[in-house]
């Protein structure tokens, strides 16, 4: 076969890349002392929990790996035997189901934060509604909420829309997202005219999404986040340490910094 002129430059490119791949630090810490715990948490907690995780690492030397997704998705993963030490859910239902299957250590379960729902629209959008009732107006084509099957924020949003008698009109316009952050992303990218997210979510989309209405939580809530140690945890001691840190004054302070309220 005739040698293609590109072959030599391709070989050169590869020889440059390979040392890059081989370089770097060993993937695992050599110290046998440092342990690792895995925390599965509702995605709305991501910023606050990352900060609590750093604090936990500073204090104990143990590292925390987070798995952020919708609470319903995480619940199914834990049911399927995912190696998780701590579960923090945005909904009681998900935790209840794990408790009914005896997959969490009931004695460690506690509510640690509270949240509320808001209506967000793309900043500067002309078609955007100004209130929940305007969601039934003609300018609104699409409204994003979390998929009520797996996303607690979507369950609360459905409850709210039903209580406000808006559900039948609004339902055909709904776009169901895989988690609450995807709802926010749809709003930021202006793929939808409005979305229903947690009050705490909006901080990460500063300038791109605007809150136009808040909903009092007697209409759907209260939204209380439970946390618990998973029964199969291989590091139950460390896992309890993390739960305690979340509930400690330092944990509460960090959660409050990101807008979470104290549980009632």
């Amino acid at each position: 076969m005739k040698k293609h002129p590109g072959q030599r430059s391709a070989a050169l490119l590869l020889s440059l890349l390979i040392p890059l791949l081989l370089d770097g630090k060993p993937a695992h810490p050599t110290s046998a002392q440092a342990r690792e715990i895995v925390v599965a948490a509702a995605i709305s907690l991501s910023e606050a929990f990352n900060e609590i995780g750093r604090l936990y690492h500073q204090r104990t030397g143990d590292s925390v790996t987070f798995s952020f997704a919708s609470s319903g998705e995480l619940e199914k993963q834990i049911e399927a035997g995912a190696p998780v030490d701590v579960f923090a859910s945005a909904g009681q239902k998900e935790m209840d189901q794990l408790q009914a299957k005896q997959l969490i250590d009931q004695s460690t379960r506690a509510d640690f934060a509270r949240n509320t729902l808001v209506l967000v629209v793309p900043t500067g959008s002309k078609a955007a509604p100004h209130s929940f009732t305007e969601l039934q107006g003609p300018s609104v084509q699409r409204i994003a909420i979390g998929d009520p099957k797996t996303v607690p924020a979507g369950q609360y949003a459905e409850q709210l829309l039903r209580n406000m008698q808006l559900w039948p009109k609004v339902e055909p316009r709904l776009v169901l997202a895989l988690n609450v952050r995807q709802v926010l992303d749809y709003v930021v990218r202006e793929e939808v005219e409005a979305g229903i997210v947690y009050a705490t979510d909006v901080n990460i989309a500063k300038g791109k999404a605007t809150v136009v209405a808040s909903a009092p939580d007697q209409d759907y809530g209260p939204i209380l986040y439970p946390i618990a140690v998973v029964k199969d945890s291989s590091g139950a001691q460390a896992a309890r340490g993390f739960v305690n840190l979340v509930r400690s004054p330092d944990g509460v302070r960090i959660l409050a910094k990101y807008g979470f309220l104290a549980p009632k």
Partner: protein, 220 residues
């Protein structure tokens, strides 16, 4: 959930397969028969969706066709409509993911056609278009059909890019792979099982069909 997802999958995949059958054959023809400078680069770019994670392809599709995308914004300002969250969006996603298979198959099938037959046609005064339809296409037909069948199978299984561009709306954009995913993560294992079985059966049938088509091409 099963029946609407099945119907929608069939619609999306049929439209996508017809589109990429035509577009892919055209692109395959250009790559097989024409000589131009950036040819292998074009081939590489067209092959990208085959090797990129579907989510990356989906991301690019949103950049192009989202309501504020490079192309999508013009469609939206003209029509007030956008591909995002529509079944047409699912067609575009499935089509983009399956196009490389069609282009590769078409290029190989068209390259295997002996150029002398085309030369004869040209020397008899037939245009390139007429030569394509009366000489090249019939000779490459089996390879092209195999490509179409494989593209159909790939489009049927499309998940990641569809989820990103078309979302996951039951009855509107929720195709079978998405319905399986949702049934699984929401604990409806029976529905997931039924849908998985249907998809498995359809995929085995397609591969079987492709094998038969390509085998008889060799013995022909």
């Amino acid at each position: 959930m099963i029946w609407p997802a099945f119907k929608l999958s069939l619609l999306v995949v049929t439209v996508a397969t017809v589109l990429i059958g035509v577009v892919g054959t055209g692109l395959g023809y250009v790559l097989a028969k024409r000589q131009f400078r950036a040819k292998e680069l074009c081939d590489a770019i067209l092959t990208l969706p085959m090797v990129l994670p579907p989510t990356v392809t989906g991301y690019y599709l949103i950049l192009l066709f989202g309501r504020r995308g490079w192309i999508g914004r013009y469609i939206y300002s003209l029509t007030g409509w956008s591909l995002a969250f529509t079944w047409q969006g699912a067609v575009v996603a499935a089509g983009a993911m399956a196009l490389p298979i069609m282009v590769k198959s078409a290029r190989a099938a068209l390259e295997s056609v002996d150029a002398r037959y085309e030369m004869v046609s040209f020397s008899l005064g037939k245009s390139e278009l007429e030569t394509f339809f009366r000489v090249t296409l019939p000779l490459a037909m089996r390879g092209l059909v195999a490509g179409i069948v494989l593209s159909f199978a790939r489009a049927l299984g499309e998940f990641g890019a569809t989820l990103m561009l078309a979302g996951n709306i039951p009855g509107k954009t929720q195709t079978m792979p998405l319905a399986i995913f949702e049934a699984f993560i929401s604990g409806e294992d029976r529905q997931a099982q039924v849908l998985a079985l249907i998809l498995t059966f359809a995929s085995v049938a397609t591969i079987y069909l492709t094998n038969i088509l390509t085998r008889s091409q060799r013995s022909a």
